[in-house]
């Protein structure tokens, strides 16, 4: 996007800036100051507290969650909230549903978006400009605009309360096309020309030359799509009408709103179950995830 102007060779720059070659800007003094650490540290504690509190409280008995004043560290540890999650609710089913939907949605996006991304990036085809504009334009349309007609469509197709109904609308998203196009555009044209000279067809060039080079982009798209699907809420809430098709967020929301809201321990254990896998994946793959957000700016 914007040009990066590095000026580390500048002879007039102060030694403090020079030491720090990866940074180009220094607000205030270049050397870190204790109050900066302190402020950022306090901020970090604030950011992480909800997660820590959630994890600790899910291990407390019901009475202690309600206790006033509240406790930080559980006075009595108990796993009863989690056993209840498995016995009173069909938790393994919700987990499976979320996983099935997320896996298929991710695979679909990887395949379809990389194909179209390649066409957009490297083939000068008829209709490319307006197709690209239309696909990108839909990124701004809020999901709720499509809620009603999509529900009508899916119910006409007889797909309400089916995996197909949960998966199909998300199988090919504009975000993936954009990301793949950006990445493939940066690959050298010579690779493709070489393939063409060697007599490879367009599909062979895509499958054997382009796709292997796209691994970083595919990884980013895969992770982001999986997370997006795992956390998706509105559409599963509408389409999954019976309990054996609920995804985790839907189950969690329906059990924490209305009459069910009085079992606090169960709610917190459910929240842990939804958040824990994602946080784990994030901590392992955070570089790719943050990079993906930085390059595309969209979650």
């Amino acid at each position: 996007m914007s040009t990066v102007m590095r000026d580390t060779q500048d002879p007039t720059s102060t030694p403090a800036v020079k030491q720090n070659k990866t940074r180009t800007v220094a607000i205030g003094e270049a050397r870190p100051q204790w109050w900066l650490y302190l402020t950022l540290g306090v901020g970090l504690v604030v950011m992480v507290t909800p997660f820590v509190w959630m994890a600790l409280s899910s291990l407390k008995p019901e009475a202690e969650i309600r206790a006033n004043p509240p406790t930080w560290w559980p006075q009595t540890f108990t796993l009863e909230n989690f056993t209840e999650l498995f016995t009173r609710l069909d938790f393994p089913q919700f987990f499976t549903n979320s996983a099935v939907v997320a896996v298929f949605v991710t695979l679909g996006n990887l395949v379809f978006c990389s194909m179209l991304g390649y066409a957009f990036a490297k083939i000068d085809f008829w209709g490319r400009a307006w197709l690209f504009r239309i696909v990108l334009g839909t990124m701004m349309i809020p999901g709720i605009v499509m809620l009603v007609p999509l529900f009508v469509l899916v119910s006409r197709l007889g797909l309400v309360d089916t995996y197909a109904g949960l998966i199909l609308p998300f199988l090919a998203g504009p975000f993936g096309v954009f990301l793949m196009r950006q990445f493939i555009s940066a690959l050298p044209d010579e690779l493709i020309d070489a393939g063409r000279i060697d007599g490879a067809g367009e599909f062979r060039i895509f499958a054997q030359i382009i796709l292997p080079l796209c691994k970083p982009a595919l990884a980013t798209l895969g992770i982001l799509t999986f997370l997006g699907s795992w956390n998706n809420f509105l559409w599963p809430l509408v389409v999954a009408s019976s309990e054996d098709k609920y995804t985790l967020p839907v189950a969690l929301a329906l059990y924490s709103v209305g009459q069910n809201e009085n079992n606090y321990g169960l709610m917190l254990a459910g929240a842990v179950a939804v958040v824990a896998p994602v946080v784990l994946v994030f901590l392992i793959l955070q570089k790719h995830i943050i990079q993906g957000i930085a390059t595309t700016g969209i979650k």
Binding site: I27, P70, V148, A253, V257, Q286
Partner: protein, 338 residues
């Protein structure tokens, strides 16, 4: 261009570019590539037409009919009603309350989260090299988690009697409000949580933008006696204008669609509908089976998103009258035609 010269001196046959383009456009090779490209596009375009393009169009069609959920069985029952649905929506005081609540959330929430995120990004960019990765992960963590799950957790954090937030406020002698139970405090509570949740994205985007601010400018300004605030205002912010605009538009679009937080944290509307958002009201109308009304509201929300985006472009680009670059791929590839 120079027509007289061209008439006298014929262009050399091997001149790159000039004559090549019109010839290339009609080659069978090019046509074959077009077909191949549409082959690549076909699966996506098919899904896109059915599950995105059609719903968008049909939503517009539904917004001018009296379609209700029961008409799913009998589509011939549906009547054209013109702009009646829009009139009904615009005359509905509850819709205006939802619009006010959503507007409050955007107008207060976006500047707050932009400011806080910019400050954190500046701090992280100041040279805490060894720890900045660690900080970034911490600040980013809420972004990847399910809104529903964190909304459940924040429900507890914001409790009146034994919520952690009021307990911490109590340490400073502040008597915290009944956040989710008081109509005056329920929206600030939503904003508090939204800021916490969306800071990470903005920090990452701003950090990327800060890489484009040359240190030499800051040094020159510092030599001229500009203090940190002046340098932020006169150097960093103008150079980061495109990045800031991008962040503001992105956050604004997201905040206009507020839905999960009030649904989960305040049981779908809050005290006296004080957290009823437009999205939530659309969902409520959908639940009542008023599909036509819900579609009309959806388009009003969409209109608001488009307007906000245009407004933000205007506000943030007016001081930067750079000419728009039109990179035509053909001229680039075939060299300059001069």
């Amino acid at each position: 261009m120079a027509t007289s010269t061209a008439a006298r001196v014929p262009a050399p046959a091997d001149s790159p570019g000039r004559g090549a383009a019109p010839v290339r456009r009609s080659t069978p090779l090019r046509r074959r590539r077009s077909i191949a490209a549409w082959g690549f596009a076909a699966p996506f375009v098919l899904l896109f037409l059915v599950f995105t393009a059609w719903p968008v169009i049909s939503s517009l069609l539904m917004s001018v009919t009296d379609i209700k959920s029961r008409d799913l069985q009998n589509p011939f029952n549906v009547n054209f009603v013109g702009l009646d649905n829009f009139a009904t929506v615009l005359a509905d005081p509850l819709f205006w309350q939802a619009a006010r609540n959503t507007g409050y959330f955007v107008v207060v929430g976006v500047p707050v989260v932009m400011f806080v995120s910019l400050m954190v990004a500046l701090a992280l960019n100041t040279g805490i090299t060894r720890l900045s990765g660690f900080f970034r992960v911490g600040y980013f963590m809420p972004v990847v988690t399910s809104i529903v799950a964190v909304a459940v957790v924040w429900r507890f954090l914001l409790k009146d009697d034994n919520g952690i937030i009021n307990v911490v406020l109590g340490w400073f002698g502040i008597d915290g409000p009944n956040w989710l139970g008081d109509p005056n405090w329920s929206m600030p509570a939503m904003i508090l949580m939204a800021v916490w949740r969306s800071m990470g994205t903005l920090i990452v985007i701003f950090l990327a933008g800060l890489q484009g601010v040359p240190a030499s400018l800051h040094e020159a300004a510092a030599l001229d006696g500009a203090n940190a605030v002046q340098r932020l205002r006169l150097i960093t912010v103008p150079i980061m204008r495109p990045t800031l605009l991008f962040g503001a538009v992105l956050t604004g679009i997201g905040y206009l669609q507020l839905f999960e937080e009030p649904l989960v944290m305040t049981n779908g509307g809050g005290p006296l509908n004080s957290t009823l958002s437009v999205s939530l009201y659309i969902y409520r109308q959908f639940g009542f089976g008023n599909y036509g009304i819900a579609s009309a509201m959806s388009y009003l929300l969409f209109l608001a998103i488009v307007l906000l985006t245009l407004l933000q472009f205007r506000l943030l680009t007016e001081r930067d009258p750079r000419p728009r670059r039109k990179a035509r791929q053909t001229t680039e590839r075939e060299g300059s035609a001069r």
